[in-house]
């Protein structure tokens, strides 16, 4: 009887350790239960999204303030990005969203630069100003051809 009691306690401790490990992974890496982490949505339309992915970062002044929630095509012409901005971060109505690259071959992210307006974007609004992705190949070919004609 005493022996079974000991077994029971050890099994309990084992299960607790395992569940703690699962919880740790889910909370730290799975971003589950990030209470108050939920944000509001703002859309931005780009001529060239440069291959951004869902889940990519949205940065303001080099700080992550949200993520790219959805990438869709509008009328088979333009790319529409739905950005989820963390609550508590206010963007001016004339803020500019641009697609940039981390490093030269790094991943694409959305950079937001604040404007000078007094009004703030409301959930569901759209960025007025956007800058498409800078395509390095285009830049290089432009440089080569313009220097070749001289």
């Amino acid at each position: 009887m005493q022996h079974y009691r000991r077994t029971e306690i050890i099994v309990g401790a084992f299960m607790l350790t395992g569940i703690l490990a699962i919880g740790l992974l889910a909370l730290q890496l799975g971003k589950v239960g990030g209470l108050g982490e939920k944000g509001y949505e703002i859309t931005a339309t780009f001529g060239d999204a440069g291959g951004v992915r869902n889940g990519g970062d949205v940065m303001l002044a080099g700080v992550v303030i949200g993520r790219i929630k959805r990438v869709t095509l509008v009328k088979s012409l333009k790319a529409k990005l739905t950005l989820e901005i963390n609550n508590g971060i206010q963007l001016t109505t004339d803020a500019i969203a641009s697609i940039r690259t981390k490093g030269i071959i790094g991943e694409r992210y959305v950079r937001v630069s604040q404007g000078a307006d007094e009004q703030f974007l409301q959930p569901g609004d759209e960025f007025d100003d956007t800058e498409s992705a800078i395509n390095i190949e285009d830049l290089i070919s432009k440089y080569i051809f313009s220097s070749g004609s001289n």
Partner: protein, 259 residues
């Protein structure tokens, strides 16, 4: 002509026998799991099995996890340094462990550590006619012996693999940051940024399926062992081989579904 026919006969017999065994095993496992929904529930048997299977495998799983994380950090650093992207080391280690190596290596270690002993134990119960004795006493051996072991592997393996993941990530961090000098902030930041709930779910689905596979295969082969010393030895070998191969095959299938 006769030789060719014999060959066909041999192949056909082999196929039929394999199908028969798979069917027999599936039937036995579903019968065992069916007992889960009707009383009496033998909680005490489950606790004893969880102790033997789960807690018993804890140390080997922790050691495997630690060294897997460490060697992944070393190998990943060696490869990534060629591209100058050492900062990605954290996510490379974390994704490899959580998506793939944790579940597979954990399940293989579990097969070797616990699966073999399940088969041997049940096989010896068969040899010493303990299973028949249970039936004589109107105790259903499927409910008393097989079900607790299947449920115990099914519960224990996901928990063990979560522990494997945590230990592996910690060990990878130690090697990557303290030994190889990767920036600590970049290591943790990349890990948190790149691992999603989807990756974790993939790992957990894998570990639950592997747990069920180990439980079913090892109990079945023990239960149907030829009741001789040699038969038990054969059954144990076959259990480890069959469970390991099934884990690797199931791993590919689950990965292709979840990608």
């Amino acid at each position: 002509m006769n030789g060719v026919l014999n060959l066909f006969g041999f192949m056909g017999r082999g196929l039929l026998r394999t199908t028969e065994r798979i069917g027999d095993g599936t039937m036995l496992c579903s019968r065992a799991i069916g007992h889960l929904f009707t009383p009496p529930w033998l909680g005490r048997q489950l606790v004893i099995q969880l102790y033997a299977i789960g807690f018993g495998s804890l140390i080997i799983i922790a050691i495997t996890g630690a060294f897997t994380g460490m060697v992944l950090a070393l190998q990943g650093y060696y490869t990534l340094a060629k591209f100058g992207s050492e900062s990605l080391l954290g996510s490379a280690v974390a994704l490899s462990i959580i998506r793939e190596l944790g579940p597979v290596l954990g399940a293989l270690m579990m097969t070797g550590r616990a699966g073999s002993s399940i088969t041997a134990e049940i096989g010896i119960m068969r040899v010493t006619e303990q299973l028949d004795a249970l039936e004589m006493m109107a105790v259903n051996p499927v409910r008393q012996v097989i079900l607790p072991r299947i449920i115990a592997t099914l519960i224990a393996l996901p928990l063990l693999i979560a522990i494997f993941d945590v230990v592996g990530l910690g060990a990878g961090y130690l090697v990557g940051v303290n030994l190889l000098g990767v920036n600590a902030g970049a290591y943790i930041g990349e890990t948190i940024a790149k691992v999603t709930m989807h990756d974790l779910l993939t790992g957990w689905v894998k570990s639950a399926v592997f747990g069920l596979l180990i439980g079913c295969i090892c109990t079945f082969l023990g239960y149907r062992a030829v009741p001789t010393t040699e038969g038990v030895a054969q059954a144990t070998t076959r259990a480890v081989v069959t469970a390991s191969v099934s884990i690797l095959i199931a791993d590919y299938i689950i990965t292709s579904f979840f990608l």
